[in-house]
Amino acid sequence: MRLYGRQNMGSSVYIAGAGVISGIGNNVAEHLRAFEQEQAGMSAITMLNTIHKGELPVAEVKLSNEELAAMTGLSPNTSRTALLSLVAAREALDDAAISDFKSLRTGFVSANTVGGMDKSEDFFVDFLADNNKGQLRNVFDHECGSKTEIVADKLGISDYMTTISTACSSSANAIFYGARLIKNDLLDVVIAGGTDALTKFTLNGFNTLMILDKQLCKPFDEHREGLNLGEGAGYLVLVSEKVAKILTKPAYCKLSGYNNSNDAYHQTASSPDGTGSYLAMKGALEKSGLKPSDIDYINLHGTGTPNNDSAEGTAVKRLFHPHYPPMSSTKSYTGHTLGASGGIEAVFSVLAIKHGIIYPNLRFETQMSELPFQPETKFLKEQTINHVMSNSFGFGGNCTSLIFSRA
């Protein structure tokens, strides 16, 4: 990859393929079905060996590591984070069906938040008892970058790969970093998104923050009590204008806007006026050259915590009042998939444009008293959707908004 060559900043980046796995399905088709049938993925914990079993609902991918290994050809000892990643990334790449993939400059930009923690936490039990114990095969791939490398090797991508970790906005940042690699004419095709498996580490971490709902989450509801964790992976295949022209089927849409801003308020809490979220959405609109009224649907970050939804809602109000587009949090289906959420929801955003659908915000009952709007509660079909905004906000004040537009 050569960084000081030509550049083509004004060029568009197209979405040629999408792949997703989460608590509501193992591929795009299963997701579309679950959305229409309003089937949420949360239930009692079955796979994690934790004392919180039966107490905290989570949205697990309904496949064991052995089943995922059989699907992917990876060893069953591989971190679940990499297993999930390969399922979705491969679906995205197959979907794009780029004929001379090998002759193009290709990259893989993936995100995750805790790397191989699902394996490391097993290792750690034995290691703590005796520092010379613990199976090394469970820890040598601990780094976040290892997950990306395992998948890139399987996909045959070697021109460039990297990993981003900015908490819950990680994979939204991966997607637009990937798009910029294309705009800077460093690569022709980038598979970008993110992955995260459920781990005891994150479950307990969020539990100490007292932001996990013991019932199914209710994003943007006055009586919301917190989030449910989920797991999964979501990837888009981003291509240059040149590659878009040789695709065998039309591109889904293009990535027209993106912005990353920092809330700079608190390590975990969002500012009351949602400064970071506001700046991210505003910046993405500016980049795309669109007005707020051009947006046909917002896929909210909408975790279901009192703090996030209040800050995000306030920011939406500041930017969109009085013309609110339909919006919803698909975390009411998938739970909060952390480092994967930006990638998974980017997939939902491009599917919304392609199929003309808007996803309902499940379990919504009461409008938030501080907001003049409420989320969409019905599955809507046959909509004309030209522009979709997708929000991803995280710890460390990292806020990112993406805008996808009909090509």
């Binding site: 550049q7 976040c144 800077n184 608190h266 460390g396 004040g397």
Partner: protein, 351 residues
């Protein structure tokens, strides 16, 4: 467009931070791992916050702030960091408590500070910097990925001044595990003998190095970051380097100084030795890992070294492996590889 290094600040096991001299008084350590020399953090961080911060956060914030001071930049337009392991101390603290207390009554602080983006986030928080903020976590090219992001932002005219850093902390647990994985020596060595005693494994290290990058020319800039490239699983590195130089209209003979990632491990160093007797047989050669120790973002130490060599025109005695001529170094190539998988090339030039 050119990318300039306006300032560089480095906390390392050597006296690199706010030092009057440039690696004149080298610190010798005997052991298997080097730890950073701690600055007085009170100058950079509210003492109330210091107690709660892990080592990597303190190092990162102090180096970042010092770097901005040097460049006379109050608030950068973007903050980008690279770290392979992130906040190890807090991660291990939380993991240990989780196991020992069987998931009960856990305090949240360690978890909150365990996310990989904590250093970039804390710098943004302290500066009230709402600009672009990103963290790369890809093994031996974490820092390089951050630099590539920064250079793209400058090219896109999204930023004038970008704060970019590489950070890594080594804690007892990660050192123990990495030693079991064969990265580090089990026998004690003097760091000053590391590169001359060939053995299996290197010596542990850690550090934080930050840079302010800008596309604006200025006499006070330290150097130009003329090019950067990462290569993955490449068979013929000699051809890879020659191609990289050719892309920048250079031949190996045009390079005044090569800084290599030699780390004392027999297998690791073979490629550097081979290059020194082939394409770089007429070049001055320097090494740095006996000073910084080996860690995933150590190339940020190398960039600090290269920028200061260019600015001062001096190659510190302690880093020289081979001196062929006394030419003032104007073109410096940094070549580092991480376990033969990730190769990183950085070209640093005089302004």
């Amino acid at each position: 467009m050119k990318t300039y290094i306006r300032s560089a600040s480095c906390i390392s096991p050597q006296k690199t931070f706010r030092s009057e001299d440039f690696l004149d008084n080298i610190v010798e350590y005997t052991g298997t791992r080097l730890s950073t020399i701690e600055p007085d953090y009170k100058e950079f961080i509210d003492p109330k916050l210091i107690r709660r911060m892990s080592h990597v956060i303190k190092m990162g914030v102090a180096a970042a702030k010092d770097c901005l001071n040097q460049a006379n930049v109050e608030i950068p337009d973007a903050i980008i960091t690279g770290t392979a392991f992130g906040c190890m101390e807090d991660t291990i603290t939380f993991l240990t408590r989780m196991v020992e207390q069987n998931e009960e009554l856990l305090p949240p602080t360690a978890f909150i500070q365990s996310t990989h983006n904590t250093v970039a986030a804390q710098v943004a928080l302290m500066l009230k910097c709402h600009g672009y903020n990103n963290t790369f976590v890809h093994k031996g090219i974490s820092f390089e990925s951050a630099l590539i992001d920064a250079i793209m932002l400058l090219r896109e005219q999204e930023a004038d001044n970008i704060l970019v850093g590489g950070t890594e902390e080594m804690v007892e647990t990660s050192f123990k595990v990495l030693t079991r994985l064969g990265l580090y020596r089990r026998q004690s060595t003097s760091n000053l003998q590391l590169l001359s005693t060939e053995a299996k494994g290197s010596i542990g290290g850690e550090g934080a190095a930050f840079f302010v990058l800008s596309d604006k020319a200025s006499d006070s800039n330290l150097a130009e970051l003329s090019a950067i490239k990462t290569l993955y699983n490449i068979d013929d590195i000699e051809a890879g380097i020659t191609k990289f130089l050719a892309e920048n209209n250079l031949k190996p003979a045009d390079i005044d100084l090569v800084i290599t990632g030699k780390n004392g491990d027999l297998k690791n160093d073979a490629v550097y030795k081979q290059l020194n007797s082939s394409i770089f047989n007429n070049s001055n050669v320097a090494n740095y890992k006996h000073l910084s120790g080996e860690y995933s973002t150590s190339s940020s130490f190398a960039l600090w070294l290269a920028a200061n060599i260019i600015k001062s025109g001096i190659i510190p005695q302690a880093v020289i492996e081979r001196k062929i001529n006394d030419k003032t170094p104007k073109k410096v190539l940094i070549y580092n590889h991480y376990l033969h998988k990730y190769h990183s090339l950085m070209l640093v030039s005089s302004i």
